[in-house]
């Protein structure tokens, strides 16, 4: 099994959750989302994000508006919809449970 593939798949799995989290407090345009994710080293290549954003938008978790930019092409500003908000809350709970579970398991194993 290719380690890079596994890593990428793990990241992809939580990527949706993270995108929604980035948009929790303020609306962002695509590059801002990307920058935040990259800063957190969650994202290696940007390509993965575009189909995800479109899917989230199609599932009505996100909506967007266009805004002019002075330095480049017009920007797509994404914001969470109500549905997205609910979805995020649920995911947050799941994530806490998951990370606790993973922590317990990995810590327990490292102690042994």
């Amino acid at each position: 099994m290719n380690i890079e593939n596994t890593k990428a798949q793990m990241r992809k799995g939580i990527l949706e959750f993270c995108i929604l989290s980035v948009l929790k407090d303020k609306d962002c345009y695509t590059s801002e989302i990307l920058d935040t994710l990259k800063e957190a080293k969650l994202l290696v290549v940007e390509g993965t994000v575009y189909p995800l954003l479109t899917r989230l938008k199609n599932d009505e978790l996100l909506s967007y508006r266009w805004e002019e930019s002075t330095s480049g092409p017009p920007r797509k500003y994404y914001r969470l919809t109500e549905l997205g908000n609910d979805f995020l809350k649920e995911l947050t709970v799941t994530w806490r449970e998951l990370s606790e579970a993973v922590n317990i398991i990995t810590n327990k194993n490292s102690h042994e």
Partner: protein, 501 residues
């Protein structure tokens, strides 16, 4: 040196080196292939918009041109086409190779095309040499032009392979970055790219269409030329033919030589047209000039041989004819026609019934003269009664110079016709039935008319002829489609508008 193209991404205009552009274009195509879902246009638009943003940050302020390294950098940031795939199942590593799996799509191959690249595209798709596809199409062309129609339809509905991704799909290779890069290294993309810009000009297509028409036409011509030797070989045994009893010794050219030169005479112009058609399709073909030159030489040679033989045959014929000169008896007979005043004489031509009983080949002792050997004239009678005269020239060999004839390999048949007329006619009340030919001996080599029929009618009598029989009345002005004639006051025969006055 590098050509620069101007592109518009997400509404921003960039100048980009051509090779960098080709790579970017292929990349976007590959990404599109990876995504393969309903909203791919939207996703691609987002991606392009991001690429435009990244370009704007990276553009060299000095030159203002996007270079290959910029594109490489962007591809690094954006990730491989595989990275764009989102899976519903987070961990499915096996499916991860999906884009590495090759699948084939049918495209027209613009690089190896002759006309529209349909055949070479089909060749790629079915993994066979496009030559076979082309041969099939050419063969089917003879089925009422079926393949021509099919070709045009395929030309319209099959897209042309333009990008490197298309080319890979056409060849059934996986569309991934490594293969695309390989294609770039091999310079494939550039040639396909050039096709997109220059190769599809209308003039080029017309040139190729003309080339194909020339090839089809000339192949048919060459095929047809094979029939010329067959034709004169069968003529050789036909009694009316120029080549009957062809004598090699007389001309020095064997009969097969004559056949061959006739074939070359017919085929060479078509071969040259064929070469021209090939040249139009593939301008790289060389040596057509001197090949045509050599063919031209043989063509002139064959024309020379053929003319030489034909002139020789004619001279020979003239000589033989002069030997026969004067060796004729002229026989005359006069018959009354049973016509009253103001009656109409009905003249009908009929095939001599004996023609069915006498074998029309060299083995028969007699032959029929040609139709123009029978010559009919209508004259005004001075006696107040209608009558007819038949004057027949009969071959007589009593004074023939047999010694000079033997030079021409001519055997004289001893058979002679009787002293009665050989020309067949009958009179039934007001109808005169004339034979349209006359039996002569095989030895009759002359071209003179053999029979003269003079019909005398009074000024009050009419004749009626069939419009098709006008040709037998050589020196008389009969009108096409007019059947009834009589003499006018000036003694000239004149039609009476198909009615009897």
């Amino acid at each position: 040196m590098n050509k620069t193209v101007t592109i518009n991404i997400a509404g921003l205009v960039f100048h980009i080196d051509e090779d960098a552009y080709n790579k970017l274009d292929s990349y976007i195509q590959a990404v599109r292939n990876s995504i393969q879902q309903e909203s791919e246009d939207e996703i691609i638009a987002d991606i392009e918009s991001r690429i435009a943003e990244l370009f704007a940050e990276r553009i060299d302020p000095q030159t203002g041109v996007i270079r290959m390294n910029n594109v490489d950098e962007i591809i690094n940031i954006m990730g491989k086409p595989e990275d764009y795939i989102i899976e519903d199942e987070p961990v499915r590593p096996n499916n991860f190779t999906a884009t590495n799996k090759a699948y084939k799509k049918i495209y027209r191959d613009g690089e190896k095309r002759i006309l529209g690249g349909v055949c070479s595209g089909l060749g790629h798709y079915f993994n066979i040499d496009p030559v076979w596809v082309r041969i099939l199409f050419i063969l089917l062309f003879f089925a009422y032009g079926l393949s021509f129609v099919i070709y045009l339809i395929l030309w319209v509905i099959i897209p042309k392979a333009v990008t490197v991704a298309d080319v890979l799909e056409m060849k059934g290779e996986p569309v991934n970055i490594s293969n695309i890069e390989k294609q770039f290294r091999e310079g494939v993309s550039n040639s396909y790219q050039q096709i997109r810009t220059s190769g599809s000009s209308v003039a080029n297509v017309i040139r190729r269409i003309i080339g194909i028409i020339l090839i089809v036409f000339s192949v048919m011509g060459i095929f047809g030329s094979f029939f010329t030797p067959i034709a004169i070989n069968s003529e050789k045994f036909s009694i009316a033919s120029e080549f009957m009893g062809y004598n090699e010794a007389q001309t020095g050219i064997p009969f097969w030589g004559l056949s061959l030169s006739l074939f070359i005479m017919c085929a060479v112009p078509f071969i040259v047209l064929l070469l021209l058609g090939v040249k139009l399709l593939n301008p790289k073909v060389k040596h057509i000039g001197w090949v045509s030159g050599i063919l031209g030489f043989f063509w002139l040679l064959s024309i020379f041989i053929f003319s030489y033989v034909m002139i020789n045959l004619d001279i020979q014929k003239d000589k033989i004819e002069s030997l026969f000169e004067g060796n004729f008896d002229t026989k005359m007979s006069q018959t009354d026609l049973n016509l009253n005043d103001k009656d109409t004489l009905n003249i009908i031509f009929q095939k001599d019934e004996r023609i069915f009983t006498i074998n029309d080949t060299l083995t028969g002792k007699h032959k029929f003269s040609e139709i123009d050997d029978v010559y009919i004239e209508v004259l005004e009678s001075n006696t107040g009664k209608a009558y007819m005269e038949v004057e027949e020239k009969v071959f007589n060999n009593k004074d023939l110079n047999l010694k000079s004839l033997s030079k021409y390999n001519i055997q004289i048949e001893t058979t002679q016709f009787s002293n009665t007329l050989n020309y067949n006619y009958s009179i039934k009340s007001d109808t005169l039935v004339l034979s349209n030919a006359i039996l002569t001996t095989l030895n009759d080599f002359t071209e003179d008319s053999k029979v003269r029929v003079k019909i005398y009618i009074t000024e009050n009598q009419h004749i009626k002829i069939n419009g098709n029989d006008r040709d037998h009345f050589w020196n008389q002005s009969l009108d096409n489609g007019k059947n009834f004639y009589k003499f006018n006051s000036e003694g000239r025969i004149e039609n009476t508008n198909n009615t009897i006055n």
